[in-house]
């Protein structure tokens, strides 16, 4: 018995699984929503890492046109057999986007950009490849359009590398995180604006702003150890009020709490 003999390749398995199909189309739906396209006219979109064209199917359903790029000929063959609506291109986005300036009304990418952080060959330099991708993407997009790139970052350094190269290429915008508190449903969308930018959309299922999640909040305050444990700092107003409350419970005579309680006596001249 040979291992893997006669089995479909992993990429083929990936596009056959119905669960993957469902997640893919959900993510493309969200990505197109984040693009904020005008509703009255069809747009031309670029799909980076289109694979078998699952995300493109959603774009076609919405009545837009798309052109897909992918590095894998096997996945593109699947797309050709599925007779997808959009046009396909075999290309490595790390070598640049081969389009004329200002041609697209938007760009989406589902689970593809993190692969640019891998150095598969000795000559590959992830920051350079990312910069080449983002700078040529910036050129290919029309002014005022957006690029929404869904990605699975391995760690925060990778995320930082990707966003830094995007900003260097001239994009504005940032990261939108959907369902940041869920391990499974959590999704990262890098929303990039070309030229004049709108406000960054909010992630789904977030109460706090998504920015806060990305980095630790800096405060100039010193928190005392006791404070963290739940006890108030000695001689503070809270500490006095707690002590008075405790005494009251013991049945001792305690002066009532007023606005003067725990106030400092300023020095008199």
């Amino acid at each position: 018995m040979s291992l893997g003999g006669g089995r479909p390749s992993p990429t083929l398995c990936l596009c056959l699984s119905s669960r993957v199909v469902e997640i893919q189309s959900q993510m493309s739906e969200r990505a197109v929503e984040l693009l904020g396209l005008p509703e009255d006219r069809p747009c031309l979109l670029l799909d980076v890492g289109c694979g078998s064209g699952l995300s493109g199917d959603y774009i076609s359903e919405e009545g837009h046109y798309w052109i897909g790029m992918d590095i894998s000929p096997a996945m593109l063959d699947v797309a050709v057999e599925r007779e997808v609506e959009g046009d396909l291109l075999l290309a490595d986005v790390g070598h640049g986007i081969p389009f004329r300036p200002g041609m697209f009304d938007g760009c989406i990418s589902i689970s593809a950009v993190q692969w640019l952080c891998n150095a598969d060959k000795k000559s590959h330099s992830p920051p350079k490849r990312l910069y080449r991708f983002f700078s040529t993407l910036y050129t290919a997009l029309a002014r005022g359009s957006r690029a929404v790139l869904q990605l699975y970052p391995e760690n925060s350094e990778q995320l930082e590398l990707i966003t830094a190269q995007a900003m260097k290429a001239g994009f504005t915008g940032g990261m939108v995180v959907d369902y940041p508190n869920s391990a499974k449903a959590k999704k990262f969308f890098l929303c990039l604006f070309v030229g004049t930018s709108g406000t960054l959309p909010k992630g789904l299922g977030t109460e706090c702003a998504s920015e806060e999640l990305q980095q630790a909040k800096f405060t100039n305050e010193r928190t005392r150890f006791r404070n963290v444990k739940g006890k108030s700092v000695k001689k503070s107003r809270d500490w006095i009020l707690e002590k008075k409350e405790r005494r009251r419970r013991q049945g001792k005579e305690v002066r009532p709490d007023t606005k003067y309680t725990g106030r400092k006596r300023r020095p008199h001249f």
Binding site: Y65, I67, I71, L76, D77, V80, D87, L88, L89, L90, A91, D92, G94, H95, G96, I97, P98, F99, R100, M103, K121, S123, T136
Partner: protein
């Protein structure tokens, strides 16, 4: 590959002059033409005719019928012209052939309707 895509593509070989790499020359071995009155023979390559539409330069090297070399002054209201443009851009496809960069002469093969724009390590 639809002609709309060809109209947007430009070569990305490093070291081109600014604004270079466009328009890519199309070489057709096999083509496809959908929609109304498809010709029996695959579309014949014709010399490129620049056409300015919606602020974009449209290069149409493959035509099953003739389009005027310049857009008519009232082309947005001219339905016949728009129909023809739509047909040319979205219904004529190149299945086998190649694209050639006008500046560097680099050829990008097209197979099964998918242009191969991969660069080799030396080029990149």
């Amino acid at each position: 590959m639809k002609l709309l895509t060809h109209n947007l593509l430009s070569s990305h070989v490093p070291g081109l002059r600014p604004g270079g790499g466009f328009p890519l020359r199309i070489e057709v071995r096999e083509g496809k033409c959908e929609g109304r009155d498809p010709p029996e023979t695959p579309p014949v390559p014709a010399p490129p005719s620049p056409l300015r539409g919606r602020g974009r330069l449209v290069e149409i090297p493959l035509l099953p019928f003739s389009l005027p070399p310049e857009p008519l002054p009232d082309y947005e209201a001219n339905e016949e012209f728009l129909r023809r443009l739509h047909h040319v851009l979205l219904e004529v496809e190149v299945l086998e052939g190649s694209l050639q960069c006008p500046d560097s002469g680099r050829r990008f093969p097209i197979s099964r309707g998918v242009p191969n724009m991969l660069l080799t390590e030396e080029e990149a």
